[in-house]
């Protein structure tokens, strides 16, 4: 039978260490919404989302109440819209209409964000995919909660440098069009390499074409819990440290597993995966940076940061994987600068640089995330940053991503404020040396030699 100390420990995690379930995300296939005209497609999409997800938010709230665990976000992911709209969209404006339909449907059911205004162009772009990408400045500035992602490369296909080059211009344009709001539009867009099909987190979540009609995926959180647990590991060796992280990750993930199974059962939708990422928030004590500092760094960004993060990421996976039957998505430690108090401080003090963050992305679960850069950064430089990250993912057979915000009208040292969980960030300096001749060559970077495993 349960004892009082175990019950106390769980409630302490929830009340004082900010343990929560970060998101319940319902994936919905929109492949059957394709039709001859844009208006028909929009109607089909609106109807399907508002039917399938009508009980998502109330069900999430009921689970929160029954188990006493906060579920911070309820979200929806859909099939990449470049596929759904390919049959009917003849222009970028047509795609924007679909973005509005997604925005309306998501607001109707009351979710926080909807992801999947996406294109998978890891080898090359179809005309529809290019139109969707070109629609992003309008789509992201005119809608509120639609998120977008573009997969520009993979270990199997190489990197589509035409798409990478185009995205540099697109990200600049999105930033300009949302200049009044610290270029918030860029917060809703992420470029990927090796993107997973079942990611419940935003902005990169979409419902992959390998998925069924609908699915429930859950993203857990809990850097605060790991951080508190590490107080007991102060001065101890790596074996003790790793064991502590593993045990904690196990407990966190079990809560996610419970919530996922319960949500799937109540909604009558199959359970997909648990994403066992450590996802920080700007709140004090809910920081991956703090965890790294407790491992022994004076400040995140110091020499040793990459090794500490590699170890943390690995232990989180080892602990979490035993706690759930199906682990997927991104699963690891996130390092979004603007969403992590200790990373914000380290970036502001100059201890944490973009170059160090790039090194960290070789061993963390995603990539350069929520980094504010000067508004006058060139499109070519942004493309170069995306190409570098994609290359890290491609060669290391891992997911990498870029979500940078070239904050219009602001420069190094100023702050950008994105609000809420998206946080705030000091604008970080970017290497100014040119790379235009590299990113504008055209074509694609071939797949690496070790991808040929057949």
């Amino acid at each position: 039978m349960l004892n009082i100390m175990e019950v106390h420990e769980t409630n302490q995690m929830i009340e004082q260490e900010k343990l929560d379930v970060r998101t319940i995300t319902m994936g919905i296939s929109l492949l059957d919404c394709a039709a001859d005209t844009v208006d028909e497609v929009c109607d089909n999409i609106y109807r399907k989302i508002t039917t399938y997800a009508k009980d998502l938010v109330p069900t999430g709230e009921a689970i929160e109440r029954d188990y006493g665990i906060p579920i911070v976000n309820k979200r929806i992911t859909v099939t990449p819209i470049s596929l759904v709209g390919a049959s009917c969209c003849r222009s970028s404006e047509d795609f924007v209409k679909i973005a509005h339909a997604l925005d309306r449907a998501a607001k109707e059911v009351g979710v926080d964000l909807i992801g999947g205004y996406s294109a998978l162009v890891s080898k090359a772009m179809t005309p529809a995919e290019e139109m969707l990408i070109r629609s992003l400045p309008q789509a992201l500035s005119e809608t509120d909660i639609v998120c977008s992602s573009v997969n520009v490369g993979s270990t199997k296909t190489g990197i589509d440098m035409n798409a990478v080059e185009l995205l540099g211009h697109i990200i600049k344009d999105v930033a300009e069009r949302t200049a009044d709001n610290d270029s918030y539009g860029c917060v809703k867009f992420v470029a990927f390499c090796n993107v997973p099909d079942d990611n419940p987190f935003m902005a990169g979540g979409f419902h992959g074409v390998t998925e069924g009609d609908a699915v429930i995926n859950v993203g857990v959180s809990g850097p605060g819990v790991v951080s508190r647990a590490l107080d007991a590991a102060k001065g101890r060796d790596f074996e003790f440290l790793c064991e502590t992280i593993k045990r904690t990750a196990f407990k966190i993930t079990r809560v996610g597993q419970l919530v996922a199974q319960e949500a799937a059962r109540r909604l009558g939708v199959p359970f997909g995966i648990i994403d066992l990422s450590l996802a920080p928030t700007p709140a004090v004590g809910d920081s991956v940076g703090e965890v790294l500092e407790k491992i022994g760094l004076e400040q995140v960004g110091a020499p040793g940061t990459t090794a500490a993060l590699a170890m943390l990421n690995d232990q989180v996976k080892k602990g979490g994987i035993m706690a759930s039957s199906y682990v997927g998505g991104l699963s690891g430690a996130f390092i979004p600068v603007s969403e992590d108090k200790n990373m914000i401080d380290a970036a502001a003090s100059g201890c944490l640089t973009i170059e160090k963050l790039e090194a960290m992305t070789c061993v963390c679960s995603v990539g350069l995330d929520m980094i504010a850069i000067p508004g006058d950064t060139t499109a070519a430089t942004i493309s170069g940053i995306i190409a570098d990250e994609a290359a890290i993912g491609m060669v290391n057979q891992k997911t990498t991503a870029v979500r940078v915000i070239p904050v219009a009208g602001k420069g190094v040292g100023e702050m950008a404020n994105f609000g809420g969980l998206m946080g705030y960030a000091p604008i970080m300096p970017v290497n100014q040396a040119g790379c235009e001749a590299f990113v504008t060559r055209g074509g694609r970077i071939p797949a690496p030699i070790h991808s040929f495993k057949n």
């Binding site: 349960l2 004892n3 175990e6 019950v7 006493g68």
Partner: protein, 90 residues
């Protein structure tokens, strides 16, 4: 059996258990086990209860106990048992 865990945390005062138990009895919630201890100077009480035959919706019981706690000046939580068993039992 449909079990829930009720926890009370706060300063110890006369009649806390009596008031919680009275509320539960009136709603046909059966108390299976009670334990209490002092953690970090705070009174901690835990009840394991059976809500299978409860005459109220579980959500209502959660809200009512929360309000009762506010009246008494302690924190009362009522949670389904699985969140604890999943976390602490393999």
């Amino acid at each position: 059996m449909n079990k829930a865990i009720i926890t009370v945390v706060g300063h110890d005062t006369v009649g806390i258990i009596a008031r919680v138990c009275t509320y539960l009895a009136e709603r046909h919630v059966n108390v299976l086990d009670i334990s209490q201890t002092i953690i970090d100077g705070f009174f901690n009480m835990m009840m394991i209860v059976d809500v299978t035959d409860a005459s109220e919706e579980f959500g209502t019981i959660v809200e009512d106990l929360d309000k009762l706690g506010e009246e008494i000046g302690v924190r009362i939580r009522c949670q389904r048992e699985e969140i604890f068993t999943k976390m602490h039992r393999i």
